[in-house]
């Protein structure tokens, strides 16, 4: 298929950015979106134009590095996939595709389509863990966990930290990301001892870093490549109020 791409180009954080149009031909419908981007970059290098910078690594939908905003949607038009798992069969010959970076105050732009998501690491550092040192822990089977609880915890733990939730949210809120980690740990007996401290510390860090507030529009859940549920936000709120009231 032949396509027209409108790609956000920006030299660095300080430079002014703009959309630049590129034509690309003979793309197989079986190639992935990022393979199409590879072909574009090879074409640009040949033409002596600097290739488009974008984040990507595992290309299996699990590392959370890829982060393109395609035709107004984080990770593009397919459901429940990251960009690296999006295939060109979701587009038609002759389409114009608009490609932008994540846009959020807490994710400053680095170059072209790459942004700095280290704010997510900072939130995890504030309390996204169980405080145990290596060694000196009990036998794994000494802590029985209800299967359903373990499954709910795993549902939340599936978050890949890509930031699509923030990119999708009109407030650039990180509530889905934070709630997924809080839920994963607070649902488990291992996480209970620090449950209150964790939720307060992580919410505070999120606010300090400039993420917006949650107004329950649900865009995050709709765009999450791992289908992390809004229920986690409800759980976070409950945990948070409980911590504040106790």
């Amino acid at each position: 298929m032949d396509l027209t791409l409108k790609v956000w180009r920006q030299k660095n954080n300080k430079a002014k950015g703009k959309f630049v149009e590129y034509k690309i031909k003979n793309i197989s419908k079986d190639s992935s979106f990022l393979e199409m981007m590879d072909i574009l970059n090879e074409q640009l290098i040949e033409e002596g134009v600097e290739p488009v910078a974008f984040d990507h690594d595992c290309r299996e939908g699990i590392c959370g590095m890829c982060s393109l905003y395609i035709n107004g949607r984080p990770h593009g038009p397919d459901e429940a996939v990251t960009v690296c798992q999006l295939h060109m069969r979701k587009f038609n010959d002759g389409d114009t595709i608009v490609i932008e970076p994540w846009r959020a105050k807490a994710f400053p732009l680095i170059k072209d389509l790459m942004v700095d998501r280290s704010a997510f690491d900072t939130i995890i550092q504030a309390g996204g863990y169980v405080s145990v040192n290596t060694g000196g822990v009990p036998d794994a089977n000494s802590i029985p966990i209800e299967r359903d609880k373990a499954e709910l915890s795993m549902d939340a733990a599936a978050c890949i930290g890509c930031g699509a939730c923030v990119a999708a949210c009109k407030n650039a809120s990180a509530m889905l990301f934070v709630s997924a980690k809080v839920s994963q740990l607070n649902l488990l007996p291992q996480g209970k001892a620090e449950a209150k401290l964790r939720v307060e510390a992580m919410v505070k860090e999120m606010d300090d870093l400039g993420f917006g507030n949650c107004t329950n529009t649900g865009a995050c859940e709709a765009e999450c490549p791992k289908e992390i549920s809004l229920t986690n936000i409800a759980r976070l709120n409950r945990n948070f109020y409980a911590a504040k009231l106790s």
């Binding site: 690594d57 429940a80 488990l188």
Partner: protein, 646 residues
């Protein structure tokens, strides 16, 4: 000259590690604060090591090229992690896990290291559960297990098809806690460019800040590399796009011997190659072989019709299907080790029975769905089936998956002794980056085990034993001439890469190298093929340094420049792999030489002449490296031909 002393402790195998720990040297808490440790890589081994050292009170600096430590490629491991817990009461023991791993590695691993690995495997599961890793559980609330290749027991712990992700996030959370406490300093988007030696000891690294392009100097009393494998030398592999062998290669050039480079794992269950534009291969977890049955048509005419799309797999009657693994290996069936399954698939496809493009076989869940119901299969493998459908546009619940072997893991790596220290004093190497535990073939669910064993439970001890003699060494200035010199060499190389200004992109060369490697140093190797491959790699290397084109500049974010540095190293790694494969006149594990096989086509080892680790020493650019041999002795295990038939 460096010599090979594996430093295996005395005593019976089951007591070696206990004895080591009982007699090793320790560092007191006040001194720990004065000792700096550099950890490169934040996968399972690097993250768990940095976290554990931080907890102990050392000053740690940790580096990764990704934007966050959570993105290291350990995250992509799907199926599970082995441990000898024997929770299933099916007869598992530490010895059995040790035995299976040595046998699976085709008797080319170091016994003492493997025993220690099996021994600490149980601690890993305890540790991860305490961290809040949501492993799969039974209704009674206890941990569930599944089976993996090369074992007769169920000892694999898992978190759906995302075990690597969950274990890495566990280690990442422990690391994050230490970063918050100030014990560990984190450097993301930062790639190691060279190792700095002072008086023969590893004392620091030069890194490139991938955003600004600036070169930076870092001092450490010791340096630990946990930088993964070099599978991307093949261009197409299941590795992440950025995975590379450069850190280990820089260490090699500074004097760290490189061991068994020829030992590469080709994973049997990957989504087949489908086009020239393809950038990577996607793995389908080995756990699928628990319930999926592998087959090709029994009649060559049927295979042809399937390839042409004239008939569908369901049109082929049961008796006209060849479940070739069940036929050839009745005892292990579809759960034979990876090297065996991969070669068997290649054999069928080469004989003309392949489906799809001709380079694929079926992995069929029809029986399992009939037996257990669709829901049960979905609960076990739902995310894998979804991933397959997204990529291939066919529904594996209704029509069998198509799979083919692909490069997945490198058993070879930097040579290390029992303490995981390389031939450079003070340089430790962990996880996939070292060579020590998997011999010539790694069993499934053992990579996660090894990464975490090295990082949580082995290196924190052995590094301390080394540092106990360094407590009087003050922090060194990074203005020392050794740092100047290393940085200048890095600068020169980067300048050279960017100023060649030739005709072709990095990918052009990388793809060419990949083809040479797959055809000549791949699943089936021959003397002639390897010799030819070496010549071709040398030619390609010359062309690379003449015709490479890297756009952009040095002092900015420049993806092409990053790739160029990695591919420059891959060109050299590939050559050493071929040389090692040429030297090893036997077939063992993932290393299969056509000249050395049994009448039935199985790998034929030559224990008399090749029961050794080949460790290569760098002698300078365009000089032949020197081969050193570490003889392997087996005391606890009787060496046999691997038999998965009965």
């Amino acid at each position: 000259m460096a010599t090979l002393n594996s430093k295996i402790p005395d005593g019976p195998i089951a007591e070696k590690w206990t004895n080591y720990k009982a007699h090793q040297k320790l560092v007191n808490p006040a001194n720990k604060r004065k000792l700096d440790i550099i950890v490169v890589g934040t996968g399972l081994a690097g993250a768990s090591l940095a976290a554990s050292l931080g907890e102990l009170g050392f000053k740690v600096k940790v580096f990764c090229y990704q934007d966050s430590p959570r993105r290291a490629h350990s995250i992509a491991a799907q199926g599970g992690i082995n441990a000898a817990k024997n929770y299933q009461n099916d007869g598992d023991t530490v010895y059995r896990l040790f035995y299976d791993t040595v046998k699976g590695g085709d008797y080319r691993a170091r016994e003492a290291n493997v025993y220690r690995l099996a021994e600490v495997s149980n601690n890993i599961i305890d540790q991860c559960v305490a961290q809040g890793v949501p492993f799969a559980r039974e209704y009674g609330g206890l941990l569930a297990n599944r089976s993996f290749g090369g074992a007769l027991v169920s000892r694999t712990f898992y978190a759906r098809g995302q075990t690597g992700q969950q274990l890495l996030l566990g280690a990442y959370s422990a690391l994050s806690r230490q970063i918050k406490k100030g014990n560990v300093e984190l450097f993301t988007r930062s790639e190691m460019q060279d190792l700095v030696l002072i008086d023969g000891k590893a004392r620091g690294i030069i890194t490139r800040n991938l955003i600004t392009g600036k070169l930076e100097r870092h001092f450490g009393h010791t340096v630990a590399l946990a930088t993964g494998g070099y599978g991307n030398v093949f261009f197409l592999s299941t590795n992440a796009m950025g995975s590379n062998g450069s850190a280990a290669w820089q260490a090699y050039k500074k004097g760290a011997f490189f061991a068994n480079p020829a030992f590469v794992q080709i994973h049997p269950t990957c989504i087949p190659v489908h086009g020239d534009y393809q950038s990577k291969l996607t793995l389908m977890s080995e756990s699928l072989r628990n319930d999926g049955r592998i087959w090709v048509p029994k009649n060559i005419e049927d295979a042809e019709k399937i390839r042409k799309g004239e008939i569908q797999p369901k049109d082929i009657a049961e008796e006209d299907r060849d479940y070739y693994l069940e036929r050839r290996y009745p005892a292990f069936g579809n759960l034979v080790p990876r090297d065996v399954a991969s070669r068997a698939a290649k054999e069928r496809c080469d004989a003309g029975y392949g489906v799809g493009t001709g380079k694929a076989v079926f992995l069929d869940f029809e029986d399992a769905i009939k037996r257990l119901g669709r829901d049960a299969i979905e609960a076990r493998y739902g995310n894998l089936f979804q991933m397959y459908e997204k990529i291939n546009d066919t529904n594996p619940y209704e029509t069998p998956m198509m799979i083919y072997p692909a490069i997945h893991y490198t058993m070879g790596g930097t040579w290390v002794d029992y303490e995981l220290m390389s031939t450079i004093p003070g340089l430790f190497v962990l996880g996939e980056a070292n060579f020590s535990d998997h011999g010539a073939n790694r069993l499934g669910a053992s990579a996660l085990m090894q990464g975490l064993a090295d990082g949580y439970f082995v290196a924190p001890y052995t590094i301390q034993n080394y540092l106990a003699d360094e407590i009087l060494v003050p922090r060194m200035s990074t203005d020392l001439p050794e740092f100047d010199e290393a940085e200048k060499a890095v600068q020169d190389r980067l300048n050279k890469l960017i100023s060649i200004n030739g005709k072709y992109s990095v990918d052009h060369f990388h793809k060419k190298l990949g083809h040479i490697m797959w055809d000549h140093v791949g699943m089936a190797r021959t003397k002639e093929g390897l010799e030819e491959g070496i010549q071709m790699i040398r030619e390609l290397k010359k062309e690379f340094w003449k015709e490479l084109k890297v756009p952009g500049s040095l002092d900015e974010l420049n993806n092409e420049l990053e790739k160029a540095g990695r591919v420059a190293d891959f060109l050299e790694i590939g050559e050493l792999m071929a040389m090692d494969a040429l030297n090893r006149n036997e077939s063992c594990g993932g290393h299969f030489r056509e000249e050395y096989k049994t009448e039935e086509g199985e790998a034929l080892r030559d224990d008399k002449n090749y029961t050794y680790v080949s460790a290569w020493e760098y002698k300078g650019p365009d000089q032949e490296p020197v081969l050193h041999k570490e003889p392997l002795t087996f005391e606890a295990i009787k060496v046999q031909q691997r038999n998965y038939k009965k």
